[in-house]
Amino acid sequence: MIKLYDYLLSGNCFKIRLILSFLNLNYEKIHIEFYPSEEHKSENFLQINPLGQLPVISDDGFILRDAQAILVYLASKYDKGGTWYPVKNTDKIGMISQWLAFGDSLTGSASAARLHDTLFYHHFNIEKCRAMAHSQFRILDEHLFFQEELGNDWICDGVTPTIADIACFPYIALSEEGGISRISYPAIRRWLDRFKRIERFVVMPGVFPAGPGP
């Protein structure tokens, strides 16, 4: 049985809830309260993850931390169709890794701005975080525009989404909570709509569902 150490308002945890749902896997949620009780810094939790970060999974006792690592692990192990992380396709894997790193880097920009505005993380330099997020969004918007030109719906692929899309989705979809408007990124907005229409997509507070697709 897979256990997910989860916090409702965390975008990184949302990545794991998404893939678990997309892959239709059963799992048990263990709520670790980030705020206000800071349970992720508690003795108990530090034994599971000494970095004191969420998410963490335990798959029959095998413990893994870091959202991107967990995405790779779950997709390689449980995706029967082999599309979310096509292990054998080296070019694809390379590209996916590149965008996984991009998704991870949003933690220091869009996610930090959101923590600042929502949960009062004063130590972040909010203006810097926002500016950095905008330059990242610009790159992704351009990339997605040209992907569409090639007839591709997704960050790394034409037909099926990969874990790169999952890694980028949450903090972009939640960016407005950190005061980062998406008005200048039309290709990103279309991609968000497509993403929300993936079968078995789930929402989290702050993310609206899309209507029925075309």
């Binding site: 351009e142 525009f145 040209f146 030109e149 090639l150 998406r182 008005i183 200048s184 039309p186 907005r189 279309r190 709509d193 609206f208 899309a210 209507g211 029925p212 697709g213 075309p214």
Partner: protein, 591 residues
């Protein structure tokens, strides 16, 4: 000292404002056509004003203010349902084209008594772009369509419009492309060999502009990709340069004032205040015989948009021969550029249908009322049963189309005499399996069938019936025998077949206007009210449609209508003033 500064500042602000007012009259591109993918809502901004831009499934492009009139929520986070836009906050629905609100879920039993319309802006689709302007003047649009074209990736730049405008030409000339600044503010860049890019700068906000370009040629796939990449690269470098220059420029965002709504919308509705007026002029744009003796008329407006309707609504047709007749609209959600009605030839009717069948033709002009709805559809039902007899199909079709598009559960029973009597076949086909047609049943078999259909009243289940009098009466009786609650049964008569007795004499007291009037035999309450300057809306004036309803404070009502149900009658506090009268000497009315 400060005063001088402040005054100067005020002057500058004033100048800025005037500049913005002038710019608002111009057309600007606000999106690429390709931005409006199916079922998407595009967030745009022009001169500080945000727009929600969406393409309906019929291809129409809507440019609306990005603010739900209810509680101000951005409509760009709403849902494009193909024919309507649904707000995320309270689920209000707004119709394609008119932006009129078609449904307020918090009050599912009401048809909105007034039309709430979001602000819409002019729109054009040209050279692969969507154009708009808050106060854009229709005839000022001067851009010509390009038969061959390639639209560039729009590049947003965090810099003021005039700066970008001034420098783009220079920038390209540094790259050895010559160009021109055209009168209309667009910039033409010569790529050589007749190839030209036309650039438009969209002033989004005081420090945000979008460079939108289009090439006057269509390129093959591979070439196209490279061309777009190449131009994007150039403009992105240009962007960096512009953003560097304006980095330390501190400009206040532009202010888009919020327009006040009409006074009556500021308060929750009280009463409608329109008589039997023909406010609309419509022309017949299509006339088809949809079954043996039913013509379907498509009516279009002469200019501007038609008022919003809700499923179950009817319009009054003021015929050239002086007759006024009611017809239900069959339109589904989003079908807002016309009204469609079905008229059955009544051989022994009062002449309205004969007149329409014999005289009305394509191109004719008809005077009609705005749509009015006394037969509203609840959409908070878990299951809805429609029972239509003959031409009673019309309001129910409109309703079922609405439920269909919202993916709510329903079944639709249509009783007709024969195959030849089936109207609106095309629409029925779209509704598919939910439609069950019962052909040629005897009276007895019809009753048995209806009893079967109504077997199980239930939790959040509603029934809608419309058809000829005897069938309606039988259905209502069966429903009440089978214990359907009164408020789950909804019906509409075409006409009141009862014999009206208008022999009584009595007084009416108008509680709010402190007026006492006498109604003598032969006159109706409605007539007496009108004669005394009290304008009450009405439509059929025979106790069938429910428009002339008023609340009664005291007195014994002599109900003669077919609109109210048993509970409403038993409550003794509403009446139809066009036919009903008083059993007591005096009625006190809440008007």
């Amino acid at each position: 000292m400060t005063n001088v500064r402040e005054n100067n500042l005020r002057k500058i602000i004033c100048m800025e404002k005037n500049k913005i007012y002038a710019l608002r009259k111009k057309w600007f591109p606000i999106a690429s056509s390709s931005d409006l993918v199916k079922r998407h809502v595009f967030q745009a901004q022009l001169l500080g004003r945000e727009f929600a831009v969406w393409r309906a499934d019929d291809g129409n492009v809507n440019v609306w203010e990005n603010r739900c009139l209810h509680r101000g929520v951005r409509l760009s986070i709403g849902i494009n349902q193909g024919s309507e836009l649904k707000c995320q906050y309270h689920g209000w629905r707004y119709a394609n084209r008119t932006a009129g609100c078609t449904y307020i879920p918090a009050h599912p039993a009401d048809a909105p008594a007034r039309t709430i319309c979001n602000n819409t802006y002019p729109v054009k689709e040209f050279i692969g772009m969507i154009w708009s302007g808050e106060d854009a003047i229709e005839n000022d649009f001067s851009y010509k369509e390009l038969s061959k074209r390639t639209v560039l990736r729009p590049v947003p730049i965090n810099a003021p419009n005039d700066l970008v405008q001034k420098n783009l030409l220079n920038y390209y000339s540094e790259l050895n492309f010559d160009g021109l600044l055209l009168n209309d503010g667009s910039i033409e860049i010569n790529l050589g060999g007749k190839k030209k890019i036309l650039f438009f700068i969209q002033p989004q906000d005081s420090k945000l502009s979008v460079v939108r370009g289009v090439l006057n040629a269509t390129l093959s796939d591979e070439k196209r990709y490279h061309f777009l990449k190449e131009q994007n690269f150039i403009i992105e470098r240009f962007r960096e340069k512009m953003e560097q220059i304006s980095e330390n420029l501190n400009l206040e965002p532009m202010v888009a004032e919020i327009e006040e709504i009409s006074n009556d919308l500021g308060e929750p509705p009280t009463k409608e205040d329109c008589g039997r007026k023909a406010e609309l002029r419509l022309h017949v744009s299509e006339r088809i015989l949809t079954s043996r003796d039913v013509v379907s008329l498509k009516l279009k407006g002469i200019e501007g948009q038609l008022p919003t309707f809700h499923p179950g609504a009817h319009i009054d047709l003021h015929l050239q021969n002086g007759l006024i007749r009611q017809y239900s609209l069959v339109n589904g959600p989003g079908e807002t550029d016309h009204y469609r009605i079905g008229v059955k030839l009544e051989k022994d009717g009062r002449g309205g249908s004969q007149y329409i069948h014999n005289n009305v033709k394509v191109g004719d002009l008809l005077a009609t009322s705005a749509p009015r709805n006394n037969f509203p559809l609840r959409r908070d039902s878990l299951y809805t049963i429609f029972i239509a007899g003959g031409i009673g199909i019309t309001p129910l079709l409109s309703m079922s189309k609405a439920l269909h598009s919202m993916e709510l559960d329903y079944e639709f029973h249509y009783f007709v005499q024969s195959e030849k009597d089936i109207s609106f076949k095309e629409t029925l086909k779209i509704l598919g399996e939910r439609v069950i047609i019962h052909k040629g049943l005897s009276q007895e078999n019809t009753i048995n069938k209806v009893r079967k259909i109504l077997q199980k009243p239930g939790y959040y289940k509603n029934l809608y019936v419309c058809g000829p009098g005897p069938m309606l009466e039988a259905t209502l009786k069966i429903a009440s025998d089978l214990k359907w609650a009164d408020d789950t049964i909804h019906f509409e008569y075409f006409k009141n077949d009862r014999k009206i007795n208008n022999d009584s004499n009595f007084e009416i007291e108008l509680a709010r206007s402190a007026l006492t009037l006498t109604v003598s035999a032969g006159k109706t309450i409605l007539e007496i009210l009108r004669e005394n300057g009290v304008d009450l809306p009405s439509s059929c004036e025979q106790g069938a449609c429910g428009t002339c309803k008023v609340n009664v404070i005291r007195g014994d009502i002599d109900h003669q209508d077919v609109y109210l149900n048993a509970t409403e009658r038993a409550n003794k506090n509403i009446m139809m003033t066009c036919v009903s009268r008083s059993l007591s000497d005096r009625l006190i009315l809440d008007i």
